[in-house]
């Protein structure tokens, strides 16, 4: 439903987005990841027709955003960064304006507004000027606006930014509920969110796609993938570490003391091998030695570590070549 091809944006000499390409099908929730300034928002602004691309194309539901702008925009629900709205209006007035622009009228409009208000739990603040609302409510007004016309394509720039954990949970639930019927793109830099709601993640850095895959596949690229983590309480000795290291199939080990506990992270020789055997071996050793075990588990991988290894927009390091996906 969304087909992006070679999308590029220059601002003067600066290239914000550099030949990005991807597609999103119905039922997919694409998580758009990247450090600040990587080009996430710029890409979204181009897909929704707010910025004109310097090169490349974006098609939404078969409509090219440059040559068939209005038709494409009708199929999109868009939550811009920061959820801008007309602050002097009330949420009800604002949603009525959006409904009118979206060519909903009469009972259709009122039904659509009721549905969006219910989904975003705005009922209590409908008559207060948007300027006087808290950040969380303002964000939800933006969400309500974007889903008002039940669009087949949803583009959301940091939909949970500024929400408290409960509200974040609700918004994620809302997105998950809608995901079967829509093609959804969300940008975020909250990595747990990707794991929680996205079926696919795209990491971009300095305007380029550096990784594209399911969250599990991305985590598999982590060096923590299939590592075993063992936390012991009390004093640990050098012998313990040596015994752990002597186990079969262990390439290296990290020891992190935290308060009265110590965590050993054991990296297998081959990350592709199942961690079950290694976990078993560690468990047996701990039982035989009668160690005070607090936690023992195989790691699925750490998304933040993958993220850090792939992106460096916010640092000055430039190595020219990169490990592109």
């Amino acid at each position: 439903m969304i087909v992006i091809d070679g999308l590029t944006k220059h601002f003067g000499p600066f290239t914000a987005v550099d030949r990005i390409g991807f597609t999103v099908e119905k039922g997919e929730v694409l998580g758009f990841l990247g450090p600040n300034g990587a080009g996430k928002s710029t890409t979204m602004k181009m897909i929704t027709g707010f910025l004109a691309p310097s090169a490349g194309s974006a098609r939404v539901c078969g409509h090219d955003i440059v040559t068939d702008t209005l038709a494409a925009q009708r199929t999109i629900g868009y939550l811009p960064e920061g959820a801008p709205a007309y602050g002097d209006m009330t949420p009800r007035g604002f949603l009525r304006f959006i409904a009118r622009v979206r060519r909903l009228s009469g009972t259709d409009a009122e039904k659509a507004i009721d549905r969006a208000v219910e989904a975003t739990e705005l009922g209590g603040v409908l008559e207060q000027p948007i300027d006087t609302l808290s950040k969380g409510f303002r964000r939800r007004v933006g969400l309500a606006q974007s889903i008002l016309h039940d669009p087949p394509v949803l583009i959301m720039d940091e939909p949970t930014d500024g929400l408290d954990p409960n509200q974040k949970f609700e918004v994620r639930k809302l997105i998950a509920r809608m995901s079967a019927e829509k093609a959804i793109v969300i940008s975020t830099h909250i990595l747990e969110e990707v794991d929680a709601i996205c079926t696919r993640a795209l990491i971009i850095d300095r305007g380029r796609v550096v990784a594209d895959g399911t969250p599990a596949a991305l985590m598999a690229r982590s060096r923590y993938h299939n590592a075993v983590s063992l936390t012991l309480s009390g004093q640990t000795t050098v012998q313990m570490a040596e015994k752990l290291k002597a186990l079969n199939g262990i390439a290296s080990m990290e020891i992190v003391p935290r308060g009265a506990e110590t965590t050993f992270t054991l990296f297998p020789v081959s990350a592709r091998e199942s961690d079950v055997l290694l976990v078993d071996a560690v468990a047996r050793l701990a039982r035989d030695e009668n160690w005070p075990v607090r936690a023992l588990y195989g790691e699925p991988g750490r998304l933040d570590e993958v993220f850090r290894s792939l992106t460096r927009s916010d640092t000055t390091v430039t190595d020219g070549k990169k490990d592109a996906a």
């Binding site: 602004k45 707010f50 038709a71 925009q73 811009p80 920061g82 002097d88 209006m89 959006i98 622009v101």
Partner: protein, 244 residues
């Protein structure tokens, strides 16, 4: 058309959602009255017409109209709502025209509320109401001209103060281009043809022609063309900003 009306209603409603409309109208009426009766010496003139009243309009508009137009686009850019507006399926012309028409209707409303002056002059004497009507029409057209200029310049910046100051300056040039302050600058070296062209851009020339009660098609065409040209420029500016 539907989108145009949606933008128009939202904008017009926006004036009344805040004290802006109220304050503007009160100040507008107060200064109109004060200028006419005190500075203009309306009673002393002993004339039963509104020539004095209309004479002040260009100069009041010069400051009051940019105060309306400065927010049209600059505020949208500052709050980021322009991103919402331009990503909604609203044609660019509908956004430009809807905003302009809302501001124009609002200024027309403020102008219409000066009707007590018209009542006064009818009570005091027996004026030519046709001439007065022409004056109102001319004033309304001129307000549209100032608004179109201000609308375009508001699209250039996200700073409302800059939008205001630049609009006042450009409106001033358009107002006085027939007066010596501008003409003298060119008269030494430019041919008469160019002087005439510059002078013909003056709001004052066309406005004064209409307020004398002669509704000449050329004056109407002048104002409508000016409004159209500045609105097209406004659309181009908004579109250019899309290209980054």
């Amino acid at each position: 058309m539907n989108e145009l009306l949606a933008v128009f209603h939202r904008e017009l409603g926006g004036y009344f959602a805040t004290p802006l409309a109220f304050i503007f109208i009160v100040i507008f009426l107060f200064t109109m009255g004060a200028f006419t009766f005190y500075l203009g010496g309306y009673y002393e003139s002993g004339q039963a017409d509104l020539a004095i009243f209309f004479n002040f309009h260009p100069w009041l508009y010069l400051f009051l109209i940019p105060a309306i137009s400065m927010r049209l686009w600059a505020e949208e850019r500052r709050t980021g709502s322009i991103e919402l507006l331009l990503s909604l399926p609203v044609p660019l012309w509908a956004a430009v025209l809807g905003k302009f028409l809302a501001a124009w209707v609002f200024s027309g409303l403020a102008l219409a509320l000066t009707f007590p002056i018209w009542l006064t002059v009818n009570y005091l004497g027996d004026p030519d109401n046709g001439v007065i009507l022409a004056g109102y029409l001319g004033s309304f057209l001129m307000a549209g001209g100032y608004l179109a200029i201000g609308s375009c310049l508001s699209a250039v910046t996200r700073n409302q103060v800059i939008a205001f100051v630049v609009s006042v300056a450009v409106c001033f040039l358009f107002t006085v281009s027939g007066l010596p302050i501008v003409i003298d600058f060119f008269s030494g070296w430019a041919p008469q043809q160019i002087l005439n062209t510059i002078a013909s851009f003056s709001f004052l020339t066309h406005f004064n022609a209409i307020t004398r009660g002669v509704i000449d098609l050329r004056d109407i065409v002048y104002f409508t063309t000016l409004i159209g040209a500045w609105l097209i420029a406004c659309g181009i500016v908004v579109d250019m900003k899309k290209a980054g």
